[in-house]
């Protein structure tokens, strides 16, 4: 990825939100590759319900920023045909809970066509999904279905947690020849950070990153829970505990090595995600880390996440979602062993 031709300026640019960083990343990908198309509901004139595609139809035209009929299977199904014709569609699913009409096309077609063609047909489709809770939304607007996609071979599943990653990861996703399910933490869309567009991506697309070093316990999280875990680490520090925080960034493939390396130093692991704990990412990480760090573990791997219930009404969602106290509670239990 070449550095952007940004205008020379001595003053640091104003911080950008995650939504704006994604917008800038999409814009840059479209500038660099004329085959990149955006598709989705309300992404054109409106700029998307979260404004992630704001202004792009005006600048790139309605042949490249396509307002689609209101049909998710149709969006993904037609994206497959466009990919076969040589395009690189980036599809927006308006909300997590609306991806399921397209689930069939994603799991039975998108994920399998490279294998079915014995490598002759590539499906470089990116499916962007604003996901997760914490915004007081009505039902089907707060879910975290990443495990459902990670369980399907052929898909890459990633989640960005901050504006800088959002900017680079969306471009890496578009460059990927594999289909990518790209989860965007909707409650972090308005988080801000300094973004240096000329820097180039700091990390590979299949890399987890230690975002806060520590020595006593490892917290592994992705998407919206990274900020929560950083808050937890700061709170724990006041209690004299040094917590390491890993932003997993990619769920399939899963960068287990980075977690294992960390746990071999800290001896404790707590996995945090909004998605239900049952059959979730935490279970997979717990199994892999137990397998590889068995004699280094000072405590069983802890998991904090949503419950095996339909996503609750928003008035009680704060109880469902992992927060500072619930994660700290899990940390305490890990030290009690």
């Amino acid at each position: 990825m070449s550095p952007a031709a940004t205008t020379a300026s001595d003053a640091p640019a104003a911080p950008v939100t995650l939504a704006k960083a994604l917008n800038k990343g999409l814009r840059r990908a479209m500038e660099q590759d004329p085959k990149v198309l955006l598709m989705g509901e309300d992404i054109g004139k409106l700029g998307g319900v979260f404004r992630v595609t704001d202004g792009l139809q005006k600048d790139f035209g309605d042949a490249r920023v396509i307002d689609t009929p209101l049909a998710e299977a149709g969006i993904i199904g037609t994206a497959i045909g466009l990919a076969l014709r040589g395009y690189r569609p980036v599809c927006e699913i308006q909300f997590d809970g609306f991806v399921f009409p397209a689930y069939d096309q994603i799991t039975t077609q998108v994920a399998k066509l490279y294998a079915r063609s014995l490598g002759k047909m590539r499906v470089p489709i990116v499916i962007r999904i604003p996901y997760g809770g914490g915004i007081g939304a009505v039902e089907h607007h707060s879910e975290s279905p990443e495990a459902l996609f990670a369980h399907t071979a052929g898909l890459r599943v990633v989640a960005c947690s901050n504006p800088v990653d959002g900017y680079w990861m969306i471009q890496q996703a578009i460059e990927s020849d594999d289909p990518v399910i790209f989860f965007e933490p909707k409650r972090r869309y308005w988080d801000k950070a300094q973004l240096d567009e000329s820097a180039g991506p700091a990390y590979g697309f299949d890399q987890a990153v230690v975002v806060r070093p520590g020595t006593d316990l490892t917290l592994a999280a992705h998407g919206p829970m990274v900020r929560t875990c950083l808050d937890v680490a700061r709170a724990a520090e006041e209690e004299g505990r040094s917590l390491e925080v890993i932003d997993l960034r990619t769920i399939s493939p899963l960068d287990v090595n980075t977690v294992v390396e960390s746990v071999n130093r800290t001896g404790r692991l707590v996995v945090v995600h909004e998605a239900p704990v049952f059959f979730g990412l935490g279970a997979e990480l717990a199994a892999q880390v137990t397998d590889r760090c068995f004699y280094r573990l000072e405590a069983p791997v802890g998991r904090v996440g949503g419950f095996h219930t339909p996503y609750p009404p928003s008035r009680i969602e704060e109880t469902y979602l992992p927060d500072l106290d619930r994660v700290l509670d899990a940390v305490d239990r890990a030290f009690d062993h």
């Binding site: 299977a73 037609t78 045909g81 490279y114 079915r116 047909m121 594999d178």
Partner: protein
Amino acid sequence: MTTRTPARSRRSAQAPEPEPVLVPEAAAADGYGAAEELPLIQLLTPEGERRSHPDYPLDVDAEQARALYRDLVLVRRVDAEGTALQRQGELGLWASLLGQEAAQVGSGRAMRPGDFAFPTYREHGVAWTRGVPPINLLGMFRGVNNGGWDPNEKNFMLYTIVIGSQTLHAVGYAMGIQRDGSDDAVIAYFGDGASSQGDVNESFVFAASYNAPVVFFCQNNQWAISEPTERQSRVPLFRRASGFGFPGVRVDGNDVFACLAVTRAALDRARTGNGPTLIEAYTYRMGAHTTSDDPTRYRGNDEVELWRARDPLARLRTYLVREGQADDEFFAEVEAEADALAAEIRAGCLSLPDPHPLSMFDYAYTGPHAQVEAEREELAAYLDSFTDEEAAR
């Protein structure tokens, strides 16, 4: 928008196409009008008599008619060999196209090389017209791969087993054609059962919305496994199109001339910026749904015999003989060619190697994936442990 030219947009904004013209004389007994409620476009009757149609003129010289007959015979033989290989345990399954040869050959031969076909799993005849070697079709039915051919090599998508999914792929491909400013066109194949699927209806919506250069070719073979077309639709399938805003026509699916002419017209309409067409090819699945099916449980023999009299091959042969366009020598040559093709398919099928067990990991992803790599290594070591033990004995 750069690829949907103003000319196209203007045309698409015009009044909708007129209702398809149904020929009154085709409602006679040989036009199926006596048996079904609506007449259909027919250029060759079951008795082998040529008909003309004002909207679908077709000049077929003797050489072209013979070529179509050869296609029909060879495709039927490919299909028969598939069934035989399954019965002998060489294929796990076969989906027979018996009875649908004219629909597939006629529509397939209407395509230009740059056009693209999106098949179901029964389009062996379309595959033939695209130049896909028949042996390629056997891989998935034998269980040595799940498709395996390059869709872009012959502009023929992999077979799609989940019913109706490919119609959306076809519309997306057609949207790509629009963006490329090309005059290629696309055919989406599906059946009467698929017409109930959401994906098929969404593909109609998308195609209409974008005026995409796609032809929806529905082979109404009357049966979705055990369920008759009436279970899928209260209206004749071709009439569904009007609700989506594009024309629909019903053609005699056992008449290779009519299928050729109607599909060619629809493709031309698509490639000149006039948008989608739904063609309902009215035909019949003479065999079972697949080799796993037993149609005697749900349909009577009278119906099968009625359709046997409408056989697509017999009527063209009658026509060729009556018109003096083919002699015994020609028919013998075609039979000999079919025998040779069948032998070639059989030999090719038997020599299809089983894939190496570790090959299942090869194309899960285009590049390295940590978990896939780890699992491949683990399985390889496990498999090797047997080799070592065997060697040690």
